[in-house]
């Protein structure tokens, strides 16, 4: 379904009973709501599960130009407003994880528990340069040229070697991502910082990361800076940890949301 929010049409999907607590899932770069299939299935009996496609992804509009990361926050907030959701738990992975942390910092009153997955939550001079290179690749060669280099970066070598079905699902989502959306969001990823203000977060927070994902050490530091937060590494998982280890991911999320 689509709804107008923050000036664009945002594609979303809701599972679970009316009246149950809301949990929102926000996707990573070059994926879509489909990345959360396993989580929606596991949580929809106890929660009202809202998934949406970030700006430029899936069925959401993909305007041209470079997006500011704060625009991605405004999209999520606009979606909650449009759907008349007062307060929600919010979970996101990578770009979605930075979205989750940014929302908790900027709009604390709208959120309850925050789940940040596989995200540094900030750019560095080096990562900014790498995003600019990837933007040039998307502009000149198209999305296809980025698919395999990205898959080999996101997944541990063992996983790539075995090539389980969820890798093809990720490839399909990647190929379906509009160039505009990739470039817009890559520009946002090249210039953002929600990590520096992490100490101001008052919500219960879970930092969840694949053991073999590059941001793991930095996410442990975020957790150490935020007293009362929880940090969990999922054994054997890479960057898209919820798809690499869905059962363990779902257990960590369900325990955290239930206050266990």
């Amino acid at each position: 379904m689509k709804i107008k929010a923050n000036g664009i049409n945002i594609n979303y999907q809701i599972d679970g009973p009316e009246g149950a607590p809301w949990i929102v899932f926000s996707n990573s770069l070059a994926t879509s709501t489909a990345m959360w299939d396993e989580q929606a299935a596991a949580l929809k009996n106890s929660y009202r599960v809202l998934r949406y496609d970030q700006r430029g992804h899936g069925g959401t509009d993909a305007p041209g130009g470079r997006y500011a990361f704060d625009t991605l926050l405004a999209d999520a907030l606009g979606l909650l407003d449009a759907l008349h959701i007062g307060k929600a738990h919010f979970a996101g992975l990578s770009m979605g994880g930075a979205t989750a942390l940014g929302l908790a910092e900027r709009h604390p009153e709208r959120f309850d528990r925050i789940i940040v997955c596989d995200s540094l939550c900030q750019s560095t001079p080096q990562s900014a340069q790498q995003w600019e290179e990837r933007i040039a690749i998307a502009q000149k060669q198209g999305i296809e040229a980025l698919v395999e280099p990205t898959v080999s970066r996101w997944f541990p070598p063992e996983t790539v070697a075995k090539n389980p079905p969820h890798l093809d699902k990720v490839r399909a989502m990647f190929r379906a991502t509009p160039v505009n959306g990739f470039i817009g969001c890559a520009a946002a990823l090249a210039d953002h910082d929600y990590a520096s203000a992490v100490t101001g977060v008052k919500h219960p927070a879970l930092f969840l990361v694949g053991e073999k994902d590059a941001p793991a050490p930095a996410m442990r530091k975020l957790h150490e800076k935020l007293p009362g937060s929880r940090y969990i590494e999922l054994p054997g998982a890479g960057h898209i940890s919820n798809m690499d280890r869905p059962a363990e991911f779902n257990r960590a999320v369900a325990d955290f949301l239930a206050g266990r």
């Binding site: 540094l120 560095t124 080096q126 990562s127 340069q129 790498q130 600019e132 290179e133 990837r134 040039a136 690749i137 502009q139 000149k140 060669q141 040229a145 980025l146 395999e148 280099p149 080999s152 970066r153 541990p156 070598p157 063992e158 790539v160 070697a161 090539n163 073999k212 994902d213 590059a214 941001p215 793991a216 050490p217 930095a218 890479g238």
Partner: protein, 267 residues
């Protein structure tokens, strides 16, 4: 091809060509001096051409001590000194070997005549180190064959270039010492020479392979813009261009490398 003890390890090398500028060919991770088989003899007609197996690779010594990019640069320094190969050096590098040429340039700016960076991988973001370490650990633990799906299958599609060249390359690749190969990845994971790109003052040519699936050419073109006055070329080759596209690479090198000891002015 001869061996020499330099910087504490045995290095397998070839120095060809009777006279002319000193050209140094640095092979890619997973490669050997044979990666240059279709290139070196052509250059040796008018240049002195040094190629060698990196520490831990080819027939050079299979070390069991971790090494760094600085140690690889020191290997070259010792080798060039012992072979009395005079500067200025004209480096031709493939992929991660760009880090060695850039480090040498940083240490000895007056000893570099020119740079040719083929599909350069000049540095790794510190946040990526753990992932590269993971790949290194996987190769060390499971061996080269198990690493193929995440390495050679991506970097060297079978359809690219001459079939015989592919089969020879694959054979040499499987013949790598997985530990030395892993050390190479670990060294790369701890190296970032990106800051050197805007500081390069010597003639530089960046060559991208149109079929490079590891470092797509548009990203390489973007990177080349960081180097003042760099010449950018796109050729029909993949990631390992001396093997996958030697003819267009040799043509570019013959045009770019100096005839008289000085690199030709940039176009």
């Amino acid at each position: 091809m001869p061996f020499i003890d330099a910087n504490g390890v045995s290095l397998h090398y070839e120095l060809a060509g009777a006279r002319g500028p000193s050209v140094v060919l640095l092979h890619e991770l997973g490669g050997t001096l044979h990666s240059w088989d279709a290139v070196a003899p052509r250059l040796a007609v008018r240049c002195r051409v040094l190629r060698y197996d990196q520490r831990g690779a080819g027939q050079s010594e299979k070390v069991r001590a971790e090494f760094t990019n600085d140690m690889l640069v020191a290997d070259f320094e010792a080798l060039a000194t012992q072979l009395s190969l005079p500067p200025p050096y004209h480096f031709v590098t493939v992929a991660a070997a760009a880090t060695q040429a850039l480090r040498f340039l940083e240490k000895h700016p007056d000893q570099v005549g020119s740079l040719v960076l083929c599909n350069p991988a000049p540095g790794v973001d510190p946040s990526r180190a753990a992932a590269l370490d993971e790949r290194a650990a996987f190769a060390m633990r499971e061996g080269m064959r198990a690493s193929l799906p995440t390495t050679l299958s991506i970097s060297y599609p079978e359809a690219l270039g001459e079939r015989a060249a592919y089969e020879a390359y694959r054979g040499r690749y499987l013949g790598n010492d997985p530990v030395g190969f892993g050390f190479g990845f670990r060294a790369l994971a701890r190296t970032n020479m990106l800051h050197m790109l805007p500081q390069i003052r010597c003639p530089t040519m960046v060559v991208a392979g149109r079929h490079d699936t590891v470092r797509p050419h548009a990203g390489t073109a973007e990177l080349s813009k960081k180097i003042p006055g760099a010449r950018f070329e796109l050729i029909e080759a993949g990631h390992f261009m001396p093997t996958q596209g030697p003819a267009p690479l040799v043509a570019l090198l013959e045009d770019f490398l100096p005839n008289d000891g000085h690199a030709r002015e940039k176009t």
